[in-house]
């Protein structure tokens, strides 16, 4: 088992490394560099050259890549090409924001989705199941930004219950904080839960074909126990996997929600970084996203191993 986990960790590092290459050289083919973007319409050749020299962009891409790799391995994320702040200071705050939002959404949506997913699987074909299936399917099939905009129009603009943007001045109490984040939380919970409910239900129903489920029925085991004890323990691997993917999404994929609610998160930062050709920043964000993905899936893998007696107790 340790060997399996160790192997997974190695694979994770390999993935991170490949990502760093893809992102670095992917960015270097973009038209315009940080200096050109920063100066924009106001660029002249001298000012471009001056800014490039100041940012160190006059050296070849591969040199900068290895320099970056070296710094990265010592934990130094470097300095932003745009604005000159350290990447760590830019990221730190937003990473906190992202984790706060993602965390609270996860705390709400994971138990909710697992509960509803199990409920739907427990009573297949009933109105509850049909309503959940159709409802979640519709939510999954509609663009996220539309859901967000609708909810803003209803709850923020018309009813004025919640703020339309997730803006915090700092120093809020917990409830002020929750209130400020209410809209993005709501939207993300809706979007993420829809996906997880579906997958939980599907994961359970997938093992429901097994002979041991039929055996449980023939032993007179009540449905609640069939689902919670017999099916869930066998479906837990795929379900945890889906949860991990959704959590990774909460860290890296919420750019649209961040845009709509003007929330300063990491995804938006990376988009800004691409737009300003701020390579060190984009690179650092990409590493964080990839790292999150790798770590979450690793945890999911380990959880799957732990939940599977075959892997946990070899013969």
């Amino acid at each position: 088992m340790q060997a399996m986990v160790f192997r997974r960790i190695l694979i994770g590092f390999a993935t991170l490394w490949v990502v760093s290459i893809i992102v670095y050289f992917g960015l270097s083919v973009l038209p315009g560099d940080a200096a050109a973007i920063q100066l924009g319409q106001a660029a002249t050749e001298e000012s471009l050259a001056a800014l490039r020299a100041q940012l160190g962009l006059d050296r070849p891409a591969y040199v900068r890549y290895f320099e970056w790799l070296g710094n990265m391995s010592t934990g130094d994320l470097g300095i932003s090409n745009a604005g000159g702040a350290t990447i760590a200071s830019l990221i730190g705050f937003r990473l906190g924001n992202t984790l706060e939002l993602g965390g609270i959404v996860a705390v709400i949506s994971v138990p909710l989705s697992v509960f509803l997913g199990l409920a739907a699987a427990m009573y297949p074909g009933t109105w509850l199941d049909r309503a959940l299936t159709f409802g979640t399917m519709s939510l999954v099939a509609v663009p996220e930004f539309l859901i967000a905009t609708f909810l803003v129009l209803i709850f923020a603009v018309k009813l004025k219950w919640m703020p339309s943007i997730a803006y915090m001045s700092g120093g809020e109490t917990f409830w002020e904080w929750v209130h400020a984040l209410a809209m993005p939380i709501l939207v993300l919970v809706v979007v993420v839960s829809a996906q997880m409910i579906r997958m939980t239900r599907a994961g359970i129903l997938n093992v429901m074909n097994s002979p041991y489920i039929e055996m449980a029925i023939l032993k007179g085991v009540p449905r609640k126990r069939i689902i919670l004890r017999h099916a869930l323990f066998n479906a837990i691997g795929p379900i945890i996997n889906v949860i991990a993917l959704n959590l990774a999404y909460l860290v890296s994929g919420v750019v649209i929600v961040e845009t709509i609610f003007a929330y300063s998160g990491l995804a938006k930062l990376m988009i800004d970084g691409v737009q300003t050709r701020d390579f060190p920043l984009v690179q650092a964000c990409a590493m964080i996203f990839c790292g999150t993905y790798v770590v979450l899936l690793l945890i999911a893998d380990i959880a799957a191993i732990m939940s599977n007696p075959r892997l946990r107790n070899p013969k």
């Binding site: 490949v18 990502v19 992917g26 930004f145 609708f150 999404y249 750019v255």
Partner: protein, 332 residues
């Protein structure tokens, strides 16, 4: 042949005698795919949209880029007498519509968009763009994903490892981010959108195809072909692919939905299909400002997206999600 033992001989005799006890089939004949009424309705909706995608531009009253009215967000039923002869209507109230449009030449069935173009025409035109791009992108994604995925499954070893790592890396990056980088680098034309979406979604297809490939590769009939001395090409195309087709096909539907949503999201960020080409995602986006005062200009394309994607999902669910449900219904 002479039979010295008694029993086999007896068996032969009995078998010959008793023809009426034919070998019984193993199980009731396999069920063919059968859609529930929701599935049938969904299939009809998808079929209708596909037809619209083909003939939309011919049945649309206007060109997608035609500026019909000066007024934006005119409600459904608004009208224009002739293209350049415009009403100067302060507000498109229901009364105004009745007054001006009762015998107008040209009626905007679903109202006008933010630039005064005909929403209905744009939805009809947009069907081609949206469905076309997504379909072609998904097709390419499948082509790439299956080729590489099955290739990795079949070759194994070093090739499999490298392909899987690169794939995992792309998969670990948020898709919008990748889309953004590519579109920023190469601009946002339809071929580039298709290429971007197909590369991004090829990663998921790769995973599925690889897993399916690995499952099928250990099946006896593949081993039989292998033992016969068949080459890799035959094994992939004749033995593995036909058996992966059904699960891949249902996944195709879901993937198509994701591609539609992905391209809509890119449009939301201003990177999707570029104007004046009508695309449902962009239409939702560009008319969103009208939502605030009751214009449906962004609702119609949203409904178009929703009906299409939900219908595809319904069909896929109908085909695949039956598994397990039947036994689950036996629970007490």
């Amino acid at each position: 042949m002479s039979n010295t033992t008694e029993n086999p001989g007896a068996a032969e005799k009995v078998v010959d005698e008793i023809d009426k006890f034919a070998e019984l089939p193993d199980a009731p004949p396999k069920k063919t795919i059968k859609l529930s009424w929701t599935g049938k309705l969904a299939a009809a909706i998808v079929a209708a949209w596909v037809v619209v995608a083909f003939i939309g531009p011919w049945i649309a009253p206007f060109h997608e880029a035609e500026f019909i009215l000066d007024d934006s967000f005119v409600p459904a039923g608004g009208c224009a007498e002739m293209l350049d002869e415009l009403y100067d209507i302060e507000e498109w109230t229901p009364e105004a519509i009745t007054k001006y449009c009762s015998d107008a030449d040209v009626t905007l069935f679903l109202g006008s968009d933010y630039l005064g173009r005909d929403t209905f025409s744009r939805i009809l035109w947009g069907a081609r763009t949206t469905i076309g791009i997504s379909f072609v992108a998904t097709l390419f994604a499948y082509f790439m994903g299956i080729t590489l995925g099955i290739g990795a499954a079949v070759s194994g070893g070093y090739i499999d490892m490298v392909l899987s790592r690169v794939n995992e890396s792309i998969l670990s990056l948020p898709s919008i981010m990748l889309g953004l980088i590519v579109v920023a680098a190469l601009g946002s034309s339809i071929p580039i959108l298709i290429a971007t979406a197909s590369v991004i979604y090829a990663t998921s297809v790769f995973r599925i195809a690889r897993a399916l490939g690995q499952d099928i590769m250990v099946q006896d009939f593949v081993e039989a072909a292998h033992a016969r001395g068949e080459g890799l090409w035959w094994i992939i195309t004749r033995e593995v692919l036909p058996n992966a087709a059904m699960p891949l096909l249902t996944d195709f539907g879901l993937r198509l939905v994701f591609v539609i949503l992905f391209i809509s999201s890119l449009s939301f960020l201003g990177l999707g299909v570029q104007p004046p080409t009508a695309d449902w995602g962009s239409m939702v986006r560009e008319n969103m400002a009208g939502l605030g005062y009751g214009s449906y200009a962004s609702i119609w394309p949203a409904i178009a997206i929703g009906t299409l994607t939900i219908s595809i999902n319904l069909i896929v669910d109908d085909i695949s999600a039956k598994s397990g449900g039947s036994l689950a219904k036996k629970m007490v």
